[in-house]
């Protein structure tokens, strides 16, 4: 079978990409690994989805269902339980996607690929937790699957590692179902998640947040029994004598996400070590022509609304690729400068308006986003690494430069 675009991943990025590509008249195939569309949204039963694009506060499943209904309504072909085994870069114009599903292994030819396979969670070994390898240590996403899809409660005395939004939201989930959340432990001196989640997920339930602390060790026979925690200083060095033990039966790891890019790496897609995702241009096209990446495979996002935008933009890129090809007189390189952890996209044409997505290195108040090469300066009252900054660059503002550095400083 031949397609204009094969979308890999049926989460918000992939759903939005498939819909937009269909609207633009492309022949689309959507592939998803799960038994249902929506990616992780169906298990994110909390609200906070859609505030930007719909100006409404949906829960994850509701937000997903809006898109899923449209996919069904427009009869866009999709396959469930379809795991992509390989993307083959046949030529600049054609790709082959090999996937397996309950129908068997299939190969499809396509002009473009929009890769929206999401991210994986960092696990206990990656973050250096030692001790016993026992039941009760699980990632936040795994706990969500048990609780909010399967209806099983994984534990009753819970210690949460990481104060990102997922960790905070899971603290509330456990507390609402009658479990005791002992504490949330965060390595950084500031919380990783949105302020409103500290308020409504921790403060509402009197759950203590231990900043500048980390979990060293988990012990137990069969099941987790206790965890050892230590205070760390501003250089992340452990403070001797500050260790203490907490009794718990569950250690929930919410220590960040890593873009899943192995199939992209295998075809030589350039990866940005700072985002963990591919290097892309303003259509989120990677260094391999015709292969686009969106959502958490591109960069770890904090709002689903932005993921949807990425999906739609990539679909527009795919349409352009199919119709006339993507090119630029020259690609302007976007570089992360002082105070900036990363910027996406990495290259822009200067021929249209774009959003730059960036994260700062540390929380700061009353700072400016400087774009020295084009002489722009945007004031920000408060910035923090947990909140992605979006800077709109209008085409008229993008001057004839080779590079634009993005700095965040006083």
């Amino acid at each position: 079978m031949n397609y204009d675009v094969v979308v890999i991943g049926g989460g918000p990025g992939g759903l939005a990409a498939a819909l937009r590509a269909h609207e633009l008249g492309l022949k689309v195939l959507l592939l998803d690994e799960n038994e249902f569309l929506g990616g992780i949204l169906p298990q994110c039963i909390h609200p906070g989805f859609g505030t930007v694009i719909f100006k409404k506060d949906y829960t994850g499943p509701e937000f997903a269902s809006i898109f899923i209904h449209k996919i069904i309504e427009h009869k866009i072909p999709y396959k469930l339980n379809a795991h992509v085994l390989e993307i083959r870069n046949y030529s600049d114009m054609e790709k082959i996607v090999v996937y397996t599903s309950p129908e068997g292994v299939r190969e499809v030819w396509t002009r473009t690929v929009i890769y929206a396979a999401g991210a994986r969670e960092r696990h206990q070994f990656e973050i250096g937790i030692t001790g016993d390898r026992v039941s009760g240590v699980l990632t936040a996403g795994e706990a969500q699957t048990y609780m909010d899809l399967y209806g099983m409660l994984p534990g009753k005395n819970v210690l949460i590692v990481g104060s990102g939004d997922v960790g905070l939201i899971m603290a509330r989930r456990f507390a609402l179902e009658g479990a005791t959340v002992k504490m949330v432990v965060e390595m950084m001196p500031y919380p990783g998640g949105l302020a409103r989640n500290i308020m409504q997920c921790l403060n509402d339930f009197d759950i203590p947040l231990y900043l500048s602390h980390k979990v060293l060790e988990v012990r137990g026979r069969g099941r987790v029994e206790r965890a050892k925690i230590v205070k760390i200083d501003e250089n992340f060095k452990e403070i001797p004598g500050s260790e203490f033990w907490v009794d718990c039966d569950t250690v929930l790891i919410s220590a960040g996400l890593v873009p899943k890019v192995k199939p992209l790496r295998n075809i030589g897609v350039r990866i940005d070590p700072r985002t963990g995702g591919p290097v892309v241009n303003e259509y989120f096209e990677t260094s391999v022509p015709g292969v686009f990446a969106v959502g958490n495979s591109l960069v770890i996002n904090d709002l689903v609304d932005h993921v949807v935008e990425q999906g739609e933009l990539a679909a527009e890129g795919a349409a352009k690729f199919v119709k006339e090809g993507i090119s630029s007189r020259r690609w302007i390189k976007i570089s992360a400068g002082e105070g900036v952890r990363f910027v996406v996209p990495h290259y822009i044409s200067g021929e249209r308006d774009v959003f730059l997505n960036l994260r700062v290195q540390k929380p700061m108040d009353n700072v400016y986003v400087h774009l020295p090469e084009i002489g722009r300066k945007i004031k920000k009252l408060a910035v923090k690494p947990s909140e992605m900054l979006r800077i709109r660059l209008r085409q008229a503002q993008i001057k004839d430069v080779d590079e634009i550095t993005v700095e965040v400083r006083k």
Partner: protein
């Protein structure tokens, strides 16, 4: 019928059992406290089929004799039983001139023990074989007979073959007491009393305790901990051979190797624990750091720590004198105890040895005509061509549906694994049982995607609720109950 009870379903016990199922006049029972086979000492080790150059025949005559014999037997066993393995050889790396003296000793000892094809190689040949070994390496002892194996897959394969040939496995059956009557032995477990004419003690770390129950108080087993790091399969470079440093008086040293699934693995260190710490399998930062630094001494190209997918620890059962204790004590009680390294290598040879001891006690061993040496491995999606997958899908769509995305394990693979668990008598459904049979949950993400799916498949197959499924046996349940159990207040 002569009834034999083997205590311990590790690689030693199960190898003995497989050997004994060859005889028509022997009925074999295996008694194991864990929920599945191979979960004690056999589970966490360096997974090597050693060469047999390491065991001093003067000090450790049993080890010296059985290691190379076991190595030779494994060549047949891995094929009959379809056990994952690779025969890639080992290099013992010399970094100083005086290291060659030590290598000469190993070479000579190997020759005495009957290890063929060993030789000392020079720098140039070493770097041709291992371009990324430490730059100041001067040469190595090349031991081509060394191999690598999946230790738990090996025990599982042996167990399936033994059960197919008539052995009876009693899992979740901790031995509580052993009684000797006038004419036989009675072994008591929480569920039953098992009568036996002969008892074989292959209880690993607890072989001393089992021997004491039977009235033999002549040895004690102490645990020695070894810790390991395992890296993702996409790290580079990885060695093509098993790399050892030149051994010191104290230790064989930290091994750097690419284990059979393609993961870079380093370890172990050696930490002697008090006799009572036989369940202390905890990883320690000190131990892991030690392993890391020692590995760097022969393999400086270590991956970044973000590529670590697992750390683990194993315990070796150290006998008091260092040599295996394989002997008939009295009245039909036979010890196969203190099976430390090279125990995995020696297991098939230990099995022969124990059969000889039984024969020596006056039991005529009559060969079973229909004994089947062959056992078939379950299907693995990751080893199939697309055509093979499609043929399987024609029988069941589950073979096309991926459960473990990192390692490409299909639902069909998992269902076969569960069938095999039931076949050998696994009563407590454990995620680890599926893991060791399929490799699910052992990839880059360490199971956060597929573990819930496996829990569900186990719950369906065993007709239980998801929260009753365990990670690794009773006491490691995956949940406390349904989502409302605490709110209703009826949690246990």
């Amino acid at each position: 019928m002569v009834k034999v009870a083997v205590i311990g379903a590790g690689v030693t016990g199960m190898s003995i059992v497989r050997e004994l199922t060859r005889y028509q006049n022997i009925e074999v029972h295996v008694i194991e406290k864990q929920s599945d086979v191979g979960w004690g000492v056999s589970k966490a080790n360096t997974a090597l089929i050693h060469g047999g150059y390491d065991d001093d025949p003067e000090r450790f005559p049993v080890r010296a004799k059985l290691c190379i014999r076991g190595n030779r037997l494994w060549h047949r066993w891995v094929k009959e039983l379809q056990i994952p393995h690779i025969w890639n050889g080992a290099l013992i790396v010399a970094k100083k001139d005086e290291d060659f003296k030590e290598l000469e000793i190993l070479l000579e000892r190997g020759r005495k023990n009957g290890v063929p094809e060993m030789r000392i190689i020079e720098r140039e040949e070493l770097f041709a074989m291992e371009p990324h070994v430490v730059k100041d390496a001067l040469g190595a002892l090349w031991v081509p007979v060394v191999g690598q194996i999946g230790p738990i897959p090996a025990v599982i394969a042996i167990a399936e073959n033994a059960v197919a040939n008539g052995a009876k496995l009693h899992l979740d059956s901790e031995v509580l007491d052993i009684e000797h009557t006038e004419k036989d032995w009675i072994i008591k477990t929480p569920q039953e009393s098992i009568r036996a004419d002969y008892v074989i003690n292959a209880a690993g770390l607890y072989a001393d305790k089992i021997a004491r129950m039977a009235g033999f108080e002549n040895f004690s087993i102490t645990p020695r901990k070894g810790e390991y790091w395992l890296f993702d399969d996409d790290v580079a470079p990885k060695p093509a051979h098993v790399l050892f440093p030149t051994p010191t008086k104290i230790s064989k040293g930290v091994v750097v190797t690419t284990e059979i699934s393609g993961h870079l693995m380093i370890g172990p260190n050696a930490q002697n624990l008090p006799a009572e710490e036989k369940e202390n399998l905890a990883n320690t930062r000190e131990g892991l750091d030690e392993v890391w630094h020692k590995a760097q001494e022969i393999w400086p190209a270590m991956p970044p720590r973000s590529k670590v997918i697992r750390t683990f620890a194993g315990l070796r059962p150290e006998p008091p004198e260092g040599d295996f204790i394989i002997r008939h004590e009295d009245a039909g009680f036979i010890n196969a105890a203190g099976i430390r390294s090279p125990g995995l290598t020696s297991a098939p040879a230990i099995a022969e040895e124990v059969a000889n001891i039984i024969a020596g006690l006056g039991v005529e061993l009559k060969i079973k005509n229909d004994w089947n040496p062959m056992r078939q491995e379950i299907s693995h999606f990751f080893m199939m061509t697309p055509q093979m997958v499609n043929d399987m899908v024609a029988k069941s769509p589950a073979y096309g549906k991926i459960v473990c995305r990192c390692n490409k394990v299909s639902e069909g693979d998992v269902l076969e694994a569960i069938e095999r668990m039931k076949f050998i008598g696994v009563k407590t459904p454990c995620v680890d049982s599926v893991k060791f049979r399929t490799k699910a949950t052992t990839g880059t993400c360490q199971g956060s995607f597929c573990r819930p799916r496996i829990v569900k498949l186990l719950a369906e197959a065993y007709n239980l609720q998801p929260w009753q499924i365990t990670l690794k046996g009773p006491g490691s349940e995956m949940g406390v109950g349904d989502i409302k159990v605490l709110l209703r207040g009826d949690a246990q």
